[in-house]
Point group: C2
Chain length 303, copies 2
């Protein structure tokens, strides 16, 4: 079992979906990622919060294998985001993004973090992702997320980071934006030539698609009766994926495909309630059972 | 191995996609279905064509296990349809639908067809679907397709047919239209209460979802480098599904899930070229190999 280092946002999210409206709940990519990954291994967070992020908010991390030595507390307000989802939950509008203390953020790794072998760079400015990689001494497996804002706005910085990344975890629209290919198979190949040998494509309702030497691996999304809030599903997936890899600490096909299922299982819980509500009350027994449900959902006998 | 009876259209299709433009090729739901199903078993067609459907057009059926005794040849023009697909192939506009000889069509089963145990009712007026069921003497497994035109336009006739159907094979938009539920899990349950114990939801790029007693079964779509024309993919899927069921002639979970893969494999070939072009040159070896590719695509080891 190896530890994971993650850099990303810790934030106050406000979310409106057809099923409800929640204000100022603790969220952010590093939060979702680390809560998810901590089901499997120790997680070290690099992020920043303001002085409005009090003991009460810190509770979300407590009792979990999450090391907060690298969480900077600085004067000012914490990153705030508000989004509103469409009726079918497939699209969302950002109502505001207040970077606040995140605007001046530079990741500083505590000495104890520097030898971390597994690294997840959540969706932040690629220059900051690079700064983290500059500080880790023995990265063995680096995964990153990004978005069209960086793909379009900072393409050179992003290309530099991609050369240092083992796995890129993005959605299908971002695959098209980054590769310039409308076909996902061609797009995946183009992105692999930029550096990442593994590309993981998050497709929402369509599940997840992963490239590997033996061809694609695909898993459908779990059909759910109630999806309340998709916020954080992608970072939760990444947390489950990286967490399982770091737990297994090998990169066989059995491990990598199971890691995709671990991520999918965690993400399928995350969307069942607002924010982190479902994840923080999730038990390992429930997670194990959902893994088995994924097997039942997808298994068929070879000819 | 049991024979299958199908009723549907035999047509001249014209199709425009971002990858090309084809006029007046032989198509229609009964054509796609029977060519696909004939990879596995004998298929009996009930349909109608006009006097413009000559020996040359009949070639598409030749050398296959397709019984044309029930194909009516009548004076007039054959059903013609023209569609144009969007850039991402996910939506299409119908440019024209000329029913022609199909307008007065009533299915008449030759005596030899009446004891057929497996029946597929392609997407036609539910009253005509009912007329077919009135003529079969020992139906053991009946599957049907429909569309929003009948769901909205002839709801009472459709409900009557649904009571007589074992499996309904429709797309996700039609599930929502028929059930009035935006959530697929709830929609599926509502439709099962209308009669069909099995609901198979075709989701295009997202693959296929099937209800069964043991919970959902899902298979992603095969990632393809070149999708030229999605026309007929749904009927091809249905042909592969029903064909495999009729070949195995039992309804175990192993058989039903493999039948879903057989349908998905055939459909994944169908879209690789315009119209029936890919299917008519498909070999059983290629089909077998694609089935194995689906296993590789989706397999992971249980915990």
């Amino acid at each position: 079992m190896q530890p994971i280092l993650t850099v990303g946002s810790v934030a106050f999210d406000s979310v409106k979906t057809p099923f409800g409206d929640v204000s100022q709940m603790v969220g952010g990519s590093a939060t979702y990622f680390s809560v998810a990954a901590s089901f499997f291994t120790n997680v070290r967070i690099v992020a920043v919060v303001g002085d409005d992020f009090a003991e009460e908010q810190m509770e979300i991390f407590s009792g979990r294998r999450i090391d907060l030595t690298g969480l900077q507390h600085v004067p000012g307000e914490t990153f705030r985001w508000k989004g509103e989802y469409s009726l079918d939950l497939n699209t969302r509008d950002t109502l505001y993004t207040h970077l606040n203390v995140f605007e001046q953020f530079h990741p500083i790794l505590p000495e104890s973090y520097r030898p971390t072998p597994f690294v997840f760079l959540a969706n932040i400015h690629p220059a900051l992702q690079g700064e983290v990689l500059d500080q880790v001494t023995e990265p063995r497996f680096v995964a990153a997320d990004t978005m069209n804002y960086w793909i379009d706005g900072t393409p050179d910085e992003l290309r530099k980071v991609l050369k240092r990344v083992d796995a890129l975890i993005i959605n299908d629209e971002e695959v098209r934006g980054l590769s310039g290919e409308s076909n996902l198979v061609k797009g995946a190949r183009a992105i692999q030539e930029m550096g990442p040998r593994i590309l993981i494509i998050k497709r929402g309702e369509s599940g997840v698609l992963m490239t590997r030497d033996a061809g694609f691996f695909a898993v459908p999304a779990m059909p759910l009766e109630a999806v309340l809030d998709p916020t954080g599903a992608g970072d939760t997936f990444a947390g489950g994926f990286m967490g399982y890899l770091a737990l297994a600490n090998e990169m066989t096909d059995t491990v990598v495909t199971r890691a995709i299922i671990a991520g999918s299982a965690l993400a399928s819980f995350a969307v069942e309630d607002f924010g982190l509500s479902r994840l923080v009350r999730l038990t390992t027994e429930e997670l194990h059972e959902r893994f088995t449900e994924f097997k039942r959902l997808t298994h068929f006998d070879a000819l």
